[in-house]
């Protein structure tokens, strides 16, 4: 009887999760979707507490309070610009929880492990550990604790493949010798190391793919834990998340016109270095790139009738979203139409720019997707690029030798004037020179994006 009640509650909570996700299809209903989903979670937790195997509630309550306080603190204090790190960190916690469940079940069932138990334990352990360290590595990269560049070393692929083979081989051995703890430890340790090694060679601009993929893995880990415990609630939600993460992963790959394989293992070659105010054009000539002043930019902006703003990761780094909104407001008061063009992989995670601009109270109707906004660039008087580079680079269309060749871009080059805000003349994350810098209609504004935007705002006032 109690068993049936628990399973019925799980069904209800699963329905509420799906309803919650479904309501995310519009920004209007999304907030309520989140409430519904959280009530579903409450139901699932309460139902589990009815389980007859649970004897002591004291310990559970203490653990829930500790976790709740930490989680609430993190969620309330995190800055919107740091959201990718936060998401990576949350992935890490969830997947480590799954891995711990696997170990704890192993300990509990040690003397009567079946082949089914061992298989699901190892799967959960491997995927959970790998996702945990991978997410921590991603967190480190996003937070700037480790270099955001692609970290490569000799025999990288061979070493990773070797570790993977040992994990697979060791797992097969462990399936039939489940009492042998040694192999389980080896598998767990290698999964830990592989997680880090998979993420290290991936550059910062490919982070949206990595974050999506880790999202998917954390779901799969929950799912295998569900198989292990034969808990339908875990299986259903785990596969929902797995599917959602996979969907986003492929969306991001499509937006860069690269395969998942290429993102994961195709670390670009050496970064072409350029410094100072010089940029090397395609045929190797060194061209001096002229820097303009905010005064020049103001004149152009004021006389425009349509300005399209292209935000990128630099906007997040400089935390300039509020100033950009102020600039847009001033322009609109002067009768200039302002639109925002959002590339799917702008920033460090899917939807990163949208969240930042939403924080600055930019209405979401003014944010346009790439396919919608591209035909409008021809009509635009000014394309204002703030902290974006690769997503505007025409080399993706024209230069078959470019590493980003084939990636769909925002067609900034069609606008009458391009104002490019850039910290210095360094190439973008993929290490590619942008030929837009050299166009006569391009105005380069060097310096911190926030300072530059503030200057523009003051001048327009």
């Amino acid at each position: 009887m109690r068993e049936n009640l628990i399973n019925l509650s799980y069904l209800i909570s699963a329905v509420m999760f799906i309803t919650g996700l479904k309501m995310l299809s519009s920004p209007k209903s999304a907030k309520y979707g989140n409430y519904i989903s959280s009530i579903g979670m409450l139901i699932a937790i309460c139902a589990t507490l009815l389980d007859k195997n649970i004897v002591s509630y004291q310990l559970i309550v203490i653990c829930i309070i500790i976790g709740g306080v930490i989680g609430t603190y993190l969620a309330l204090t995190v800055k919107m610009t740091d959201m990718p790190q936060m998401v990576a960190l949350l992935h890490a916690f969830g997947s480590l929880a799954s891995a711990l469940i696997a170990v704890s079940e192993y300990v509990r069932l040690y003397y009567h492990l079946t082949l089914y138990d061992t298989t699901t334990i190892i799967l959960t352990l491997v995927i959970g550990s790998l996702t945990f360290t991978g997410s921590i590595a991603a967190y480190g990269k996003l937070q700037g604790l480790i270099s955001g560049k692609q970290i490569t070393y000799p025999f990288q692929k061979t070493l990773n493949l070797l570790q993977l083979l040992v994990i697979v081989g060791g797992s097969f051995y462990a399936f039939f010798h489940p009492q042998d703890i040694f192999w389980l430890v080896v598998i767990g340790a290698l999964a830990f190391s592989l997680g880090v090694l998979f993420v290290l060679p991936i550059g910062g601009s490919d982070m949206p793919v990595v974050i999506s993929l880790l999202n998917s893995y954390s779901g799969i880990a929950a799912c295998t834990a569900g198989f292990l415990l034969t808990n339908y609630s875990l299986i259903v939600t785990g596969s929902l998340i797995g599917a959602s993460g996979m969907f986003l992963t492929f969306l991001m790959c499509k937006a860069m016109n690269r395969s998942l394989w290429n993102v994961m293992f195709g670390a670009f070659g050496q970064v072409v270095s350029a410094s100072g105010g010089t940029g090397s054009s395609k045929d190797g000539k060194v061209v001096n790139v002229q820097g303009y002043t905010p005064d020049d930019a103001t004149t152009v902006l004021e006389s425009a009738s349509l300005v399209i703003i292209i935000p990128g990761y630099g906007l997040a780094v400089a935390q300039a979203q509020h100033n950009v909104r102020e600039l847009a407001d001033l322009l609109e008061k002067k009768g200039v139409e302002v639109k925002y063009a959002i590339h799917p992989v702008a920033g460090r995670m899917p939807g990163h720019m949208n969240v930042l601009l939403a924080e600055a109270n930019v209405p979401y109707e003014k944010l346009y997707e790439m396919e919608t906004i591209n035909p409008e660039f021809e009509r635009a008087d000014v394309a204002l690029v703030i902290g974006a580079n690769d997503v505007t680079n025409p080399a993706a269309k024209n230069d078959p030798k470019s590493p980003i060749f084939g990636m769909p871009i925002l067609e900034v080059d069609k606008a009458k004037t391009i104002i490019f805000m850039k910290r210095s003349m360094a190439p973008g994350f993929a290490g590619i020179e942008n030929e837009l810098f050299l166009l006569p209609k391009t105005m380069m504004l060097f310096g911190d994006a926030k300072d530059t935007v503030v200057k523009l705002v003051n001048l327009l006032k």
Partner: protein, 93 residues
């Protein structure tokens, strides 16, 4: 677990994946970050598994289970609150 039981579980798994793809493909790109943090919160459903692990009578299993409960709760609380914070910001003009 008998093969029949396993098949039933697998059945649910496969159908859930289809539902996942179907529902998520309707989410607009604007909401992809909240989608991620929202699914992250749901991922805290592993708290259910952790609670069960917590309820065993083996000391080590209980300790591991308790740590898992803490981690999963961080996920649930952190995920839902941060998603709510973001979603409240999405406004029409």
């Amino acid at each position: 677990m008998s093969f029949g039981e396993f098949l039933l579980t697998f059945y649910i798994f496969v159908l859930a994946i289809f539902v996942g793809f179907e529902v998520i493909s309707k989410v607009p790109p604007t909401l992809h970050t909240p989608l991620m943090s929202g699914t992250n919160a749901i991922c805290g459903i592993s708290i259910v598994g952790s609670l069960i692990a917590c309820g065993s009578n083996n000391q080590i299993a209980i300790i591991l289970g308790s740590v898992a409960v803490i981690l999963a709760t961080i996920n649930v609380a952190g995920g839902y609150i941060v998603t709510n914070r973001m979603l409240k910001m999405f406004k029409k003009r």
